[in-house]
């Protein structure tokens, strides 16, 4: 049976407690681990994410299972090193350029070589987490 419990504070048997609001506002609404080198099945694990799609030029679209109320969510992204054996340090960024920008239903992640914004490589692992 499902239902709703109304409480301002959550506390465990050891006396640790937190305001319920903290759990609501601080909980990630979505997260995903991606293998950026795969053409399909690139989502290795996720929560609140319906799909990850490779667009082009090391640009990935992350679609949410449940749409956000607005596009103001806070994102955190990170990347492994490049998959080509070049040992390039990679930077993962959220795209914010015209078509490729955060929306309520999806956001875009781009992987680039650090200090060389025009050069992208596929990466074995991309991580993203979203709060709102």
């Amino acid at each position: 049976m499902a239902g709703t419990i109304v409480s301002d504070t959550l506390q465990d048997g050891s006396g640790n407690s937190t305001a319920t609001t903290n759990a609501i506002k601080g909980s990630a609404k979505a997260w995903v681990t991606v293998n950026g080198t795969l053409s399909s099945g690139m989502t290795l694990a996720s929560y609140g994410v319906s799909s990850v799609t490779y667009i082009s030029s090391c640009l990935y679209q992350v679609s949410f299972s449940t749409a956000f109320t607005d596009a103001n969510y806070s994102s955190a992204v990170s990347s492994s090193w490049d998959s080509g054996g070049n040992s390039y340090p990679m930077i993962a960024n959220i795209a914010n350029n015209g078509t490729y920008a955060p929306s309520t239903t999806s956001t875009y992640i781009v992987s680039r070589v650090y200090n060389n914004g025009s050069t992208g490589f596929l990466v074995n692992y991309l991580y993203a987490i979203f709060f709102r």
Partner: protein, 119 residues
């Protein structure tokens, strides 16, 4: 009516959740701010974001962290062919964290900046 719920495990229809996971696993603060306009777009447990100098911003917490061992994760927006910026923590106190938005050898202000704090 509200109150305090003392419980070790929460059971949703999708499965159980250890209450401790809900306490330790949640972000203690997060923010989405625009470093060009130096305005907060959305946030939780962040009282303000202060512009210090180019690329340097102080994120002030509404409720301080218990120590400075907290985990900082972040993202900045990609701004085109010349910029893959890195948003990095520069200094941490219990009351705030200074973030550095850099590219190459310089700092700059641009676009969406996001930070989440775990402890």
């Amino acid at each position: 009516m509200a109150g305090t719920l003392v419980i070790d495990t929460l059971n949703a229809s999708s499965g159980p959740l250890q209450t401790n996971n809900g306490m330790s696993g949640i972000a203690k603060a997060w923010v989405n701010y625009n470093s060009s306009a130096t305005t907060i777009t959305a946030s939780w447990n962040v009282s303000s974001v202060t512009y210090n100098s180019t690329g340097l911003f102080t994120i002030n917490f509404s409720t301080a962290m218990p120590d400075t061992a907290y985990c900082v994760v972040s993202a900045a927006s990609y701004v085109g062919g010349t910029g893959s910026p890195s948003l990095m923590p520069q200094s941490l106190t219990t009351g705030n964290v200074v973030m550095n938005l850099g590219y190459g050898t310089g700092n700059y202000n641009t676009g969406i900046n996001c930070v989440a704090i775990h402890r």
